[in-house]
Symmetry: C2
């Protein structure tokens, strides 16, 4: 069966996020009021063909650890969609 998995990869909370800071500056320049912080990460969707939801989650976990997230700078969260 095909499982849809979402993975969110974000910069660690204690780290500066220069991309987010730049976007925050851009939003203020555009005149948007009230935005106080911006953090930017990756949103990844995988389609995984697996025998069970647990097996699909396992593959997503391994993909995150080995390739998608850099644990020195990022954390990830996995969510099954269906």
């Amino acid at each position: 069966m095909i499982y849809n998995v979402q993975i969110k990869v974000m910069p660690l909370k204690d780290l500066l996020d220069p991309q987010g800071k730049a976007v925050l500056g851009g939003l203020l320049n555009l005149g948007l009021k009230g935005v106080e912080e911006v953090r930017i990460g990756k949103h990844i969707t995988l389609q995984i063909d697996a025998e069970s939801e647990d097996a699909a989650k396992q593959v997503a976990e391994e993909a995150s650890k080995k390739l998608l997230a850099n644990p020195v700078m990022e954390f990830y969260e996995i969510e099954m969609i269906n």
Copy 2:
């Protein structure tokens, strides 16, 4: 009050996603089995100081339209966290 808003910006479904294709190749090279499609977008979190949830959502909507998403190639989804 401070509202936390998540914005997901993804490549449109009909468009090729070269970054996703590259990551798919990488995952297969690493020996991960079962992954059939990968799509990669941005995950953005905003902290917005606003008077109501609706006002915060409005700011997020405007930010997405004006700066965060390119409607020619991307779609976005806004979600309030708290």
